[in-house]
Symmetry: C2
């Protein structure tokens, strides 16, 4: 498994070897989440839930099936998703009166009901989210977590009195993304997509892109300003303080199982996964190193380590299998457990535990009496280092370019001046064989000339190949 | 809202008034889970997860779509479910090569993959579960949580070396059901269904039935022994210690959102829900009773109550809305919060907090200094009393009957002697207009004569009208 030589092969191999999923399910593009992978996903979901609770979003659940007429109300949205939806046409032997589709995302499921929920300004803002399965009939090559047909999906939807309040929500969503990215050790670019690449029906879209080891970016999230685009066809209106009826302004924020894919790709190495401590199913694995005489004593001491760490809230696994320590090391390295604790006769005599970090292989001794404190500190250090390394990688791979030639030579992401016109954007994409990811969501500008038409401009655009 | 006069109307009304779901979703039989109802469901899911973890089941996730050929392997299973499944026939504009169906339950999704996972006796037992949405095209009248077309569903699936080990799993499943029923305050009958009413494809089925206030029973769970019935068509085989290849024996255990429906129906009263403390989104609501002068002081003291209880792990809500205490009482009674704490000027002077129980309306004073201990004790008492009352109800409503006439007069469940033959069973069902629920899963017997053919028998059967 050589990550640098053949990323794609390495990735496909590692997701199965580490027990994240099983790709032998008989329906194309749909994989089985095995327990280890599913646990990682559920830990990520919990981090998202914490952020949602902190920011007063309520968790709800809307049905998965959407009727054809519900779906058909917002024209751009249908154009964007219509070709990718699965249609339910029959129940048992009988054709349905109204065709139903599997949600590709839930705008059209939710908004007829939002129109019933929102009556007055006192009902606003409305902030909800759900964590569900969505379906998209992908025609491109599928890849575990990165491009699948049943997608584990988070989506928040909000309604506001006006554009400004919706903009404040966008700012909050960006802040949530920042908080999450720290825990996921996943730096990203938040880029306002060019108009031709925005979410179907949106006023504008901010794509959240992570940089993959191949130099291509993977969109792991989307934050969307809808303005009144959906409120009008779905008639989501409220009465303001003066008795006037107005359309709400809406935003959404979506993320998916691609987060798992991105984390695997960012941190893994030739020996397997390296998991950020906050989402590792086991943060610590304990491997006893018994000798024939010390066996009982060491096993007992390991059980004590385990229970002490569990009491303090760590996710710990004590590996008591009847195999050699070496094979245990190997197995847990593939699974990316951040910290391995070894305990042998000599450790016990010295009153220490051997710490082995998965991220850099560093082997140190920790005082047995300070176990909890030291484990906590080391896990924090690992998270910090994973994040910093990934940030370094991202920074180093953004190349400022003042011409098509320079941009084309960029290792990964190129940063260029662009007039903002679609014609020039298309020309850039054709000539560089990269995508215009968009412009900085934080409003970064710089005086320059469009690399195509040479007109003066302050717009900075990011280019990259994408997954 | 009169529960005894018109249960059906009361139920339909209360699930919406309490904020459990919104039934105005435009697709029939599919409701929106609003945040309060969804939170209850998620708390129930967590109780199930705890039991699954305790008994070494691993959580996984299988795809929702099943291909027609995967589905078609076990003949009885298709007969049982074939008429109720939703078929996906198109993606975008194009017909699919192989039709896909939405899982009505996951045997046929999982078992082709189980055949890959199980190789040797060392892989057994295999014990997994998932919590997912399943779909059944119900033609009977739908009712929130009790009969819907998209169903929130728990299913565990196990594979064993032989029948005896599978039987031990059934025993464990019954034990899990007992543990859960205590936390849900939901007594039940575990009854081995007659052959004509078993799960499609099962060797035998134990139905878990709760008694509704109408005297009819609601099946809230199913525990199934499959023997080799699925292992043979799906070729799930293992190599035993002697190198011989054998089919596995399988069991499943399913429960659904009907648990929510049963709890609403069992405990609610004319003022609204009454929630068991273990699954109440808020176990305690704090209502300040301020006077003009004491306002700030009382609000501060209420915030202290809140944070003290939260620190000790209680789910608490402090209601600071600008409405009169009376409307707050009313709202939280509808939502069934088990315990209300009131704090006014006089309480503060006396160093007490006023406790009001939702289950019996009892109003007492608790020492402020012992708050945590007293809240804990009262919540436990409430749970205990809800369970005991429901157990009483169930016991009182099981009527031993020695003839068709006596059985027909039973208020709810009748207990009769039955020879075990289908002919007599059908006759019993026709004449009593009740269903043969089955025989005690615990093996209860008693000498008597079949109430139809009069043959001597030791079989005891339970009859009831069912939902």
């Amino acid at each position: 498994m050589k990550k640098v030589e053949n990323f794609s092969e390495w990735y496909n191999d590692i997701v199965e070897k580490a027990g994240l999923c099983d790709k032998r399910y008989p329906v194309k593009g749909m994989n089985v989440w095995t327990s280890y992978g599913w646990k990682i996903m559920r830990l990520i979901d919990e981090l998202i839930r914490e952020e949602m609770e902190r920011t007063n979003h309520e968790e709800i659940y809307f049905p998965m099936l959407i009727s054809e007429d519900q779906f058909a109300k917002e024209t751009d949205h249908i154009k964007g998703f219509g070709d990718d939806v699965y249609w339910v046409t029959h129940a048992g032997q009988n054709p349905l009166d109204v065709k139903l589709l599997l949600r590709p995302t839930s705008e059209t499921a939710m908004y007829p009901t939002f129109a019933l929920w929102v009556r007055s300004h006192a009902d606003l803002p409305l902030k909800i989210f759900q964590i569900v399965n969505v379906f998209r009939y992908e025609t491109r090559q599928t890849r575990a977590f990165m491009r699948v047909r049943e997608i584990h999906f988070f989506e928040s939807h909000t309604c506001h009195t006006d554009f400004e309040d919706a903009e404040r929500q966008i700012t909050q969503n960006l802040e949530i993304m920042t908080n999450l990215s720290k825990k996921l050790c996943m730096p990203y670019l938040a880029l306002r997509r060019p108009d031709w690449d925005k979410f179907a029906g949106a006023y504008y879209t901010i794509g959240v892109d992570a940089l993959m080891p191949t130099g291509r970016t993977l969109q792991v999230g989307g934050i969307h300003q809808y303005k009144e685009n959906f409120a009008i066809p779905y008639e989501i209106k409220y009465e303001d303080e003066d008795g006037e009826h107005k359309y709400v302004h809406q935003t959404t924020y979506g993320m998916s199982e691609r987060l798992v894919g991105a984390i695997v790709a960012l941190h893994g190495d030739d020996r397997g996964l390296i998991l950020p401590p906050d989402i590792a199913p086991f943060q610590v694995v304990i491997v006893p190193i018994p000798t024939r005489e010390s066996r009982v004593e060491i096993y007992d001491a390991c059980r004590e380590l385990e229970s002490e760490l569990k009491e303090h809230g760590f996710r710990v696994h004590l590996d008591m299998r009847e195999v050699r320590p070496g094979s245990k090391f190997y197995d847990w390295e593939i699974k990316g457990v951040p910290l391995r604790l070894e305990l042998g006769k000599r450790d016990m005599e010295k009153g220490v535990v051997t710490f082995v970090r998965r991220d850099n292989g560093e082997k140190t001794e920790g005082e047995r009496v300070n176990l909890v404190t030291e484990v906590k500190a080391v896990l924090e250090e690992i998270g910090q280092r994973l994040l910093e390394n990934a940030e370094d990688q991202l920074r180093k791979n953004i190349t400022p370019a003042s011409s098509i030639e320079e941009a084309s030579k960029a290792t990964a992401v190129a940063k260029i001046s662009w007039c903002g016109e679609k014609a020039c954007g298309s020309e850039i994409e054709t000539q560089t064989e990269m995508n215009v990811l968009g412009t900085s969501a934080e409003g970064e500008t710089s005086e320059g000339n469009c690399i195509i038409c040479k007109k003066p401009t302050s717009i900075i655009a990011y280019l990259a190949g994408t997954y």
